[in-house]
Structures are given as C-alpha cells and as structure tokens.
Subunit: 261 residues, 2 copies
C-alpha cells in the first residue's frame, strides 16, 4: 500500500514570514505522496477589517455570514493558497492549490441551524471525499495544497475548519493508501510537563490517554485534539502525529512529536 | 486527435449575475474536453477601492504593484475562480480552478522593464505551458477553470491578461489535441456593418482580413484581436472563433460568431 502524509499547518506558521519558507522547504523535501492543508491566519482578519467585515464568534467559532464567506474565499482560496503554491513551485515541489469545490474533492453540507447559526460553514464527511480524484493528482506527480474551504453542491462555497479538512481527507484517503496525519502546532507534542517543551510523550494509546487525562497532563483543548486523533485511527488513518512545525522531518519519521496509534 | 475547446470570458459576463449562470449552463453542456479561462471584472476594482488600492494604468494596461498583485491573487484566484467552480459543480461539471502556478501549468517571465514598468505582470510562452499536466486533468474527467494569474518560478505570483492565457494555453495544448479557441465578447463577431449586430462575418482568412482592414470594417481593437487569432492558427490552434457569449453553442458548432482558420 502506498504511503501518504497529510500535513496541517495553522496561522502560527502562515502568518510568520520568518517561519513559513523554512517549513515549506522541509515539506518539499518529504519523499513520496504528500498533501498540505493550511488554515487561515491573521491576514484574513486584517483584510476583513479594511473591508469593514467584523469577525463574529460564537463559542470560539467564527460565524460565516455572506460577506465573511467572500472574504475567506478570497483570502484562503486565493491569497494564502496561491502564495504557498508559488513558494513550493520555486523549490521544486509541483504543488496544486485546491478547495473542496475543485474536482469536487470535498463536498460538504451547510451546517444545520440548531442553537447557533454558523452561517456558510461546511461539515465534511470522509465518505464523501473523492479519494480517486486526489489519487489521480498524486499519481500525476502533483502535491495538493488544500485551503479550508468546501462547497455545498448547490453553487455556494463553504468555510470549513482546516483541522477537519485534514482529518476527513486523511480518513478518505485511508481507503487507498497508508496515511500518516500530522498536525503542526506551537508545541512539541503532548507534554508530560506543560512547562517543559522537551517533555513530549513519543507515543500515546487509548489506555495512556485515559491515564494522562486523570493526572491532568492532558487537559483543555488537547483533549478534543486527541479524541479526534483516536477517531481518525479508528476510521482507517494509520498514525496521527502532533508536534512542532520546526521538527517536520522528525514528525514524519517518528523521532519527534507525539504519535497516536 | 482528441478535441479541446478553450473558451475565454471577460468581465462583461463575470460581473453580470443575470448572464453568468446561463453562460455556465451552456458551458457545462459542451461535450468533450473543455477549459474555461476567465478575466477579472469590476469586483477587483471595487474591492481594491475598499482596500485603498487605486488602480493605475499606463496605455490601458493595469500596472501591478505589490498591493495590486495581492488584490488580484485574492479576487481572481480566490473569489471569482472558486465561485465559478462551485457554480459549475452544482450543474454537473467537474471543474477544477487553477492559476498558472498550480501544477506549474503556466510558468511566466516577469515582464522586463523598458519604457514602462508593468510591475508583477507575467508574460507566458506557449512552449512552457505544461500541456501534459493539463491533459492528465482532462483525462481524469476534470474541467480546468483558469484564472488570469501565472507565477515566476521564484515564489511570486504574476498578473497575466486572460486573453493571453487563453491563447497560450490553446497553443500549448495544440501539440496534443485539436484545439478550438473561443473568445466570448459583447459582439456577435466581426461585423460587416458595425451598427448591425446581425452582420457578423462567418469566416475570415488572411486575404479577407486584409480587405476588411482596407474597407474599414475591421478597425481599432479588433485588429490586434484578429492578428492574435491568426498567430494562434499559425502556432497550431485549429480554429479561433470570436462571438457573443449568449451564442456559445453556435460558436462551438460554427453556426455563430466569426471563425478564423
């Protein structure tokens, strides 16, 4: 079975002109099939301000009204995505920038209105990821760079969380390939001691996860992150690794970050 | 030899919510391989104004400074391109939105500074169009939708005229396929009587072109348009047709518009 690395980066790298080129160089150096998933970043908020589009959040989630949808379609799908693609091209990586609408690779459902109307937000199901189109692109020597955007199949783009995109693509591709899913964030992994960045736990299984929750080593936002990771493993992803973008090569070969399996 | 239609639309269709859906429906209905090339449109100027980016022109050409490059990368590569892709997806056309950077399909050279510094403007050569990547996409059942953007191979996106993109892609693909190049504009073709929209000349060859220039039936902006069309024919494009977007089916089957061959 062919191997595929799905790597997600967020605003902390995208927004940092000192970090992004080094990360992209490391990404370009990864051998074999790979997909980059990028998030948004401050630039969307900044451009939104200039356009008098005030960001609106409920429970930490951005509400995507029609204006905000236009903003993220421009900034995520155009500005950020194409600049990453051009950078990767300049270092020999044949990148192709895509949203979920392109090649219909990720159709989504507009999130139903319950307590909160999230607006133009798309929920993706891995079963609807068009894995064969993505496989075609990979086999043609192309490296997909995915923006956090999907579409509803009725003509509208939708805003979708980049972590979700990475997870659902990894699950969808897990049917065809052995998939490593990597989340790059600002820590070196799951830390035994939150104050010590060098205390990252190399491997976590479900039993260890339960223990670490009880001791408090794993808490807050890390709990849903790991729960999603275990869900991905359960849905056919081979490994999920969480760690620092500076250590991408180590995350790939298992010598850095925290790996869930 | 397989057939391919390369169809270019400009701002007069993109900006018109009453026209665009109908055009896209006609486009989606075209059988066989096809590529859509879109221009910019007023929305870029409007968003630019809100962002305090004043458009600057020399000899009718937009100067692309760094800010304007960001603007067009967002608006052409993101907003316009992805909305067209989502619309096409909703009517059963498996569109994939691309710039010249994506899959390195159109590397370009930043235009050298002579009398005018055009800024971040890319000149494309058809010999550098990566026709095999485009062929791969077509054979995978995908319909490329091309934004008027290229890249310099050194990490920067570049702004490129959509007519040029259409022409160079058509020429580049002419090596592999029998290419029809269609320019949709606001007239029904080359008019014998400029006042009579139903006086379109069905076919023009070089001899007729010379005669029409002498009689004055062909003048102004139509002259370079037709010169480019003859150049495309000379470079391996099978036919070039100029006509009204409302008559797309007729332009494809040769019953509307003016065809140069």
């Amino acid at each position: 079975m062919k191997q595929l690395a799905v790597i997600k980066i967020g605003g902390n790298i995208i927004d940092d002109p000192a970090k992004l080129p080094g990360f992209l160089k490391d990404f370009a150096a990864i051998e074999g099939y790979k997909i980059l998933v990028h998030g948004g970043g401050k630039v969307a908020t900044e451009i939104g301000k200039q356009l008098n589009i005030e960001p609106s959040y409920v429970n930490g989630r951005r509400i995507t009204d029609a204006q905000t949808l236009q903003l993220v379609t421009m900034v995520y799908g155009g500005l950020i995505n194409k600049n990453i693609v051009a950078s990767l091209q300049s270092i020999g990586c044949n990148a192709i920038g895509l949203t979920g609408a392109d090649g219909n690779i990720m159709p989504a459902n507009k999130r139903p209105v319950k307590d909160v109307d999230y607006g133009f937000v798309g929920d993706v199901e891995s079963s609807k990821v068009n894995a064969t189109v993505i496989q075609h692109l990979l086999e043609a020597g192309l490296t997909p760079v995915l923006a956090p955007l999907t579409h509803d199949g009725n003509g509208s783009m939708l805003n979708t969380n980049a972590d979700t995109i990475a997870q659902e693509v990894a699950k969808g591709m897990g049917k065809l390939m052995q998939v490593k899913l990597l989340y790059c964030f600002e820590k070196k992994g799951v830390l035994l001691d939150p104050e010590d960045d060098n205390s990252a736990i190399r491997n976590i299984d479900l039993a260890r996860f339960e223990t670490l929750k009880q001791t408090g080593a794993v808490s807050g936002g890390m709990i849903p992150k790991l729960e999603n990771a275990f869900a991905a493993i359960g849905a056919g992803v081979h490994t999920v690794t969480i760690g620092h973008a500076d250590e991408l090569q180590g995350l790939i070969n298992g010598t850095a970050g925290t790996t869930i399996s």
